[in-house]
């Protein structure tokens, strides 16, 4: 709450229902905005399409994590148990045929690394470890966790204009509109 809160941070607009927000999102997408988001009390099916979001890269992170885990376990077990220090258990061979014994560890490490990669990747994409966010200063924004269908256009967006954007939001059917300053 500093004294010189003069730079606008974002427009926060409330919509009456999920379908209204859905159509508004389509308009915002078509208007060419890039730095914006919607917030709803519950998941809305198909909103990603209405917002024009592409496929998330998160699954690539998971895949890389999975493959890394698989290869880590494979090389760890193979180098130690077959090549460096062959361990004979129950007269089973110490060569490529030992591989069934390695599967459980390979399976576990694949899953473990996938989970880590997914979590870390997700945090990186959404820049999560942070102390606060300017949007939390808005009472209107906080309605998203209750009954509000909120659309936020940030001022970082190259198409953001103080007056024109407000008019645009009114045009596409926004109810209450708030200019949040940070």
């Amino acid at each position: 709450m500093s004294e010189n809160r003069t730079t606008p941070f974002a427009y926060i607009a409330e919509f009456g229902s999920a379908p209204e927000l859905y159509h508004a999102a389509e308009h915002v997408r078509d208007a060419g905005f890039k730095r914006w988001d919607v917030h709803t009390p519950y998941p809305v099916h198909g909103i990603d399409k209405a917002m024009g979001l592409g496929k998330s890269w998160l699954s690539t992170c998971s895949l890389i994590g999975g493959v890394t885990g698989f290869l880590t376990a494979l090389s760890l077990e193979f180098f130690t148990q077959v090549m460096l220090y062959p361990t004979v258990v129950q007269n089973k061979p110490t060569n490529l045929s030992t591989i069934p014994a390695f599967f459980p560890v390979m399976f576990e490490l694949t899953i473990l690394f996938t989970a880590f990669a997914t979590l870390i990747g997700l945090c990186a994409f959404i820049m999560l470890p942070r102390w606060n966010h300017p949007l939390f200063n808005s009472a209107l924004f906080n309605k998203f966790s209750d009954d509000g269908f909120i659309l936020v256009i940030e001022s970082r967006d190259p198409k953001f204009r103080k007056e024109r954007t407000r008019e645009f939001l009114e045009e596409i059917g926004a109810g209450e509109i708030e200019l949040l300053e940070a």
């Binding site: 859905y22 099916h45 198909g46 496929k55 699954s59 129950q90 089973k92 069934p100 014994a101 599967f103």
Partner: protein, 512 residues
């Protein structure tokens, strides 16, 4: 959201017409191959080089064909039950097809009856049947030569002798006691009590006819040279009466479950009364345990018992995983073909394909998990009774077969194919994957049944029977043709989707 479909537009359903020529071809082909099969099997009694008969080799072919198509219909029953039990809404539009696949269980099981009734077939397939019959014959011969009366006489004579010996001992003992000092007297009376207890053991021996017969049978079964300890221990389960009776129970359970569900489902099409829907939901949960038990024990009786000395507690789950996976693959293929010829076009969307593709992927992994677990537990425990199954399937030709068909073909390739999300919405791609999985499932069932054929029929003399693969092909085509015919006929008997299901709306507009 624009473009929502209204279930009221679909109230009358879609009815499958046509397929007449294909139906005719399938039935004609199926019956033709069946006749060839029957003729070959009926005239194949003569003993070939190696000590097997052609009829015996063909029994395995028929079992292979029956089990393959049985797994498909079992999967259909499972998906229908699961759909109701989990109260799913997404798949209403494909549920009728699950029911259609499931009801094929009736025709497949009817075609499978020869396996249970024709002596040549069952004796070739299940070694325990002739082995047990031979032992029972021996037991009967013992009965006929009066072994029961003889044994009874022996026991009675023994009892008499024991009684008189005891009487003498007692008289002596009492006399000794009268003379003895107090300490010794106690020891003597203890001795007497012990002798009396021993006598009771002999005199109280059960001499009823049933008990004596059991004793004689046990003696024959446990004979060191010709006996069979396993068959004695397993006689309560592995005997022909109980085995045939169980088949009747499986038949009633599996056919009854799916026909009841489909009956209510079709009733619902006519009047749209939600009570039919509720009936299905309610009963599906009750049916599930019976379905699981019937299928598990059916595969115990038919497949695990191909080698009666071997056992695996994973067996039921293993066959179940394959069934569910391949029934889903068949479902996807059937829906796609129907869409290609103009049905279900407004009803089924790529979203349904994505959902079905996910289940296909999930069950690919599940199958791999179960198959590997079964192998792994047996492999590292390395117990003689259990390893036999895998040793046989890792010898000679079967080694490469196991690695290529099952490890690579049945698991790794479909796993990588179905890993990509967008691919599951692509009709061509997912159908390729489904067809591939179905082909691999044929190899899986082949791998379960056929390696037993050579060693069983030739007493370990041959790993494989030369030329027998053609009988497998003929049997497969025969059962497949008849299966296809009844399936096409079944498609025409009701709407292609449950058109008045209360939650059709939800399924029509499903979004992931």
């Amino acid at each position: 959201m624009a473009g929502l479909k209204d279930a009221d537009d679909f109230r009358d359903g879609e009815h499958f017409k046509g397929g007449g020529l294909l139906k005719f071809l399938l039935l004609g082909g199926g019956v033709l191959f069946a006749i060839i099969f029957i003729v070959l099997a009926a005239t194949g009694g003569a003993e070939q080089e190696g000590g097997y008969s052609r009829s015996g080799a063909m029994a395995y072919s028929w079992l292979f064909a029956i089990v393959f198509f049985l797994t498909l219909s079992i999967g259909g029953i499972f998906w229908t039950l699961l759909h109701h039990a989990s109260n799913s809404g997404w798949g209403i539009v494909v549920r009728r097809m699950m029911e259609n696949i499931g009801t094929m269980v009736l025709f497949v099981l009817i075609l499978g009856i020869p396996l249970v009734t024709v002596p040549t077939f069952k004796e070739a397939l299940w070694e325990w049947i002739p082995l047990k019959a031979a032992l029972d014959e021996k037991v009967d011969a013992r009965y006929e030569e009066g072994a029961v009366a003889k044994l009874k006489g022996e026991y009675e004579a023994g009892q008499k002798t024991a009684q008189s010996e005891f009487d003498a001992f007692k008289a002596q003992n009492l006399a000794d006691q009268a003379k003895a000092r107090p300490g010794a007297k106690m020891a003597l009376s203890d001795q007497l009590a012990k002798q009396e207890a021993d006598l009771a053991k002999v005199t109280e021996h059960d001499l009823s006819e049933g008990a004596l017969k059991e004793e004689i049978a046990k003696e024959v079964y446990l004979d060191h040279h010709d006996g069979n300890y396993m068959l004695w221990k397993k006689r309560g389960y592995l005997n022909e009466g109980a085995w045939t009776f169980r088949f009747v129970l499986y038949f009633i359970a599996l056919v009854g479950i799916i026909y009841a569900l489909r009956f209510w489902s079709v009733k619902n099409d006519k009047d749209g009364d939600p009570k039919w829907f509720l009936l299905q939901r309610k009963w599906a949960c009750g049916f599930l345990p019976f379905f699981a038990t019937a299928w598990t024990f059916l595969v115990f009786d038919w497949l695990m018992a191909l080698d009666y000395t071997w056992f695996s507690t994973m067996w039921g789950v293993y066959l179940f995983a394959g069934s569910a996976l391949n029934s889903m693959a068949l479902l996807i293929l059937v829906i796609t073909v129907l869409m290609k010829v103009g049905y279900l076009k407004k009803v089924v969307t790529p979203e349904h394909y994505l959902l079905m593709g996910r289940l296909l992927f999930a069950f690919t992994v599940f199958w791999g998990y179960i198959a590997f677990s079964q192998f792994f537990l047996i492999w590292y425990a390395n117990i003689t009774e259990e390893t036999r199954f895998y040793l046989q399937r890792n010898a000679e030709f079967w080694n490469m077969y196991t690695i290529l068909a099952l490890v690579v073909g049945h698991f790794f390739i479909p796993f990588l194919m179905l890993l990509i999300q967008q691919a599951k919405k692509n009709l061509t791609y997912i159908c390729t994957a489904s067809a591939w999985i179905l082909c691999m499932h044929v190899l899986d069932i082949y791998w379960i049944i056929i390696p037993e054929r050579g060693p069983s029929l030739t007493d370990g003399g041959m790993m494989t029977i030369p030329g027998a693969i053609w009988y497998d092909v003929i049997a497969f085509l025969a059962v497949g043709g008849i299966f296809g015919f009844f399936f096409l006929w079944r498609l025409g008997t009701a709407s292609l989707f449950p058109c008045r299901d209360p939650r059709l709306d939800e399924s029509l507009n499903v979004v992931n």
